[in-house]
């Protein structure tokens, strides 16, 4: 079985936020989304200028989203003024998760250019290392095993072409 890292000694440092700052961040992000959709609705080219055309629904939804986000933001500001910062939001193993998100994003832009076997093979290898697998035999088995599985199931059985 794969070798796993052990949790000995003091816990590693990890980014920690208070709940209220998480609320502020998400409220601002949702306000931005709502604004983009609200004002973006004006750019929808349509011969229908009535209120039941294609612009009204996204405008109404984005307005409702903006109101809800503003309420969350206002509540967070009130809590900050009262020094009620709430529980902590921890990001354990932040480095590993960030690298995983990054390489997963890279897969999305290189899959067709570099090919499935190379991109997914490297991705599986890196993810296994991030997940604590250290045995070389296990790494080879997991990479090769998954590529073989994908080849057999997707390409041969399901006739789904992979790049």
């Amino acid at each position: 079985m794969a070798a796993q890292e052990q949790t000995d000694g003091p816990p590693p440092r990890q980014p920690i936020f208070r709940e209220v700052w998480g609320d502020v961040t998400v409220a601002i992000a949702m306000l931005a989304v709502a604004a983009a959709f609200y004002f973006g609705a004006d750019a929808i080219e349509t011969p229908q200028a009535t209120e039941i055309g294609p612009r009204a629904y996204p405008k109404a939804c984005s307005l409702a989203l903006a109101i809800a986000a503003a309420a969350l933001l206002a509540g967070a500001i009130v809590r900050v003024t009262k020094s009620e910062l709430g529980e902590t939001i921890a990001f354990p193993r932040f480095g590993a998760v960030a690298i995983a998100a990054l390489i997963t994003g890279v897969v999305a832009v290189t899959l067709e250019d570099l090919g499935f076997n190379l991109v997914i093979g490297v991705w599986v290898l890196v993810m296994c290392l991030l997940g604590g697998v250290r045995s070389p035999l296990m790494l080879v088995a997991l990479c090769g095993g998954y590529l073989l599985f994908a080849k057999v199931v997707f390409q041969l059985l399901l006739k789904t072409p992979l790049p």
């Binding site: 052990q6 995983a100 998100a101 832009v109 997940g131 604590g132």
Partner: protein, 490 residues
């Protein structure tokens, strides 16, 4: 009805369909046994595998995953106090103390037999009620469908755990996203910044990202923590008669589970806790609940399996999913060009009835596999989290690509994975977003059709008794929920 049921059984009478059912059950058990991988994730991951399949085997496989994962979720809950799926959380309250008393085998047997009995009873309820619901819904117009969507969405928000405001934000975020793509009534492009968005946000990659890829990141967070230690000795077959004293409990919990399953957004966790609380009140036995009372295990497991059929009823008959997993199953139907709702029962009766038939055929298989394969399922729970995360992640990327055969789908899955991970950090769950993605289009189309019919008057939606009542109930639910939560905070 019987004729349609026979049609369903005959649609299943092929090697492909039975094999799909078996594969679905095996995968469902595997998914349920791995803590963190819920039924929703399992179904989302499996969706891309069904593209090349015929509709009946594909849907039977997806439903089997849904059902079997609820069965399997109790195994780690009972053995190591870690529920495999949220619906199995209540099973741990009494299942784990039974394991500590050396009665792991009895607890697992009770959970599997209780699950089987709950599934059987709720399948009967499903067969009896779904067609009736569909027949009633045939008379529905835009006002009723709009009201139904509003009620569904308000239930999702009011029944969500945590902050009502955050659930509302998740819901509205999902609704805003449904505006992307070609307008369903006029054909105008809305927010189509890249060609891949012409048909809206690609549903399957978005589901894969929100549920599965986000979970991969969460699994990576705890990949270096020690795995739980499982008991190695289990004897399950010695006590098959253990369910005999619990039939009353089984019936009550099945009814509770089915009714809660029908309500959009309620889900297996609420049902199992409700059934558990009901049996706790009725308990007159010597063992208190929470200290290893077998009735606790039976109630929670019976109810969380009955939820599956309850959630399928409004999904198939009305097109309104009763749970996040049912919402993903709608994606499975759409992939095969099938629109859930009353017309499904009229135009393609073999589809819903083959699902009913698969539930009945799959039941004994699930029970036997659960009892016979207990040792195997215990081993599944021992796979290191890092390996599970990697394999699930690789399946996410491959499945997202296979859904449309282009990189854009992978990008969508990755984007939704990161969004899902970050939103869950601030307690915004993916279920309201997904249910909004499913119900958003239904709501918009019927709102606009209703406004056209009613000369732009919103009173049109209150003019029909059904839609008026549904909208009043939706508004009341929101107000009551707002009021009670404020009181709870105070």
């Amino acid at each position: 009805m019987l004729q349609n049921l026979m049609l369903g059984f005959s649609a299943l009478a092929s090697l492909k369909a039975i094999t799909s059912l078996m594969v679905g059950i095996l995968l469902g058990y595997t998914v349920g046994c791995i803590p963190g991988i819920s039924a929703s994730i399992g179904i989302a991951l499996l969706l891309p595998f069904t593209f090349g399949m015929e509709p009946v085997p594909a849907l039977c496989m997806l439903v089997a995953v849904y059902m079997a994962s609820e069965y399997g979720g109790a195994i780690p809950a009972i053995l190591v106090n870690v529920p495999g799926v949220p619906g199995a959380a209540a099973a741990a309250f009494d299942g784990y103390p039974m394991t500590q008393r050396g009665e792991a085998g009895k607890a697992l047997t009770l959970s599997i037999l209780g699950s089987g009995a709950g599934s059987f009873l709720s399948t009967i309820f499903l067969i009896l009620t779904a067609q009736v619901m569909a027949d009633v819904a045939l008379a529905f117009g835009p006002a009723e469908y709009f009201a139904l969507a509003v009620l569904g969405l308000s239930l999702i928000v009011t029944l969500s755990t945590g902050s009502l405001l955050k659930a509302m934000i998740g819901l509205l975020f999902g609704l805003v996203l449904t505006a992307i793509g070609v307008d369903p009534l006029t054909g105008d492009n809305r927010y189509v910044v890249v060609r891949g968005l012409l048909d809206g946000i690609p549903f399957v990659p978005a589901l894969i990202g929100l549920f599965a890829l986000a979970e991969v990141f969460f699994m990576l967070e705890i990949a270096n923590q020690p795995q739980p230690k499982m008991p190695t000795k289990l004897s399950l077959w010695s006590s098959l008669g253990v369910l005999n004293p619990h039939w009353g409990n089984v019936f009550r919990s099945s009814v509770i589970g089915y009714i809660i399953g029908v309500i959009p957004g309620a889900g297996a966790a609420i049902a199992s806790f409700a059934a558990y609380a009901c049996e706790k009140r009725l308990n007159k036995g010597p063992i208190p609940f929470g200290e290893g009372n077998p009735d606790g295990v039976v109630a929670s497991e019976t109810a969380n399996n009955a939820v599956v059929c309850g959630a399928l009823a409004p999904m198939l008959a009305l097109g309104v999913p009763g749970s996040a997993s049912a919402a993903i199953l709608i994606g499975g139907l759409m992939i095969h060009g099938l629109q859930p709702g009353p017309l499904l029962f009229t135009n393609s009766p073999q589809v819903p009835y083959s699902i009913f038939a698969s539930l009945l055929i799959g039941l004994p298989i699930m029970v036997v596999l659960g009892l016979a394969g207990a040792r195997l399922w215990v081993l599944v729970t021992l796979i290191p989290r890092g390996v599970v995360a990697t394999m699930v992640g690789a399946l996410c990327l491959t499945g997202a690509y296979a859904s449309d055969n282009d990189e854009f789908s992978v990008a969508v899955a990755v984007a939704f994975g990161v969004i899902g991970y970050l939103l869950r950090k601030v307690d915004i769950q993916p279920a309201p977003i997904v249910l909004a993605l499913v119900l958003g289009e239904m709501m918009e189309i019927n709102l606009r059709r209703g406004l056209i019919s009613g000369n732009n008057s919103l009173m049109f939606f209150l003019s029909s008794p059904i839609s008026g009542s549904l909208l009043v109930v939706a508004a009341l639910l929101l107000f009551v929920s707002l009021f009670t939560r404020k009181r709870a905070v105070a």
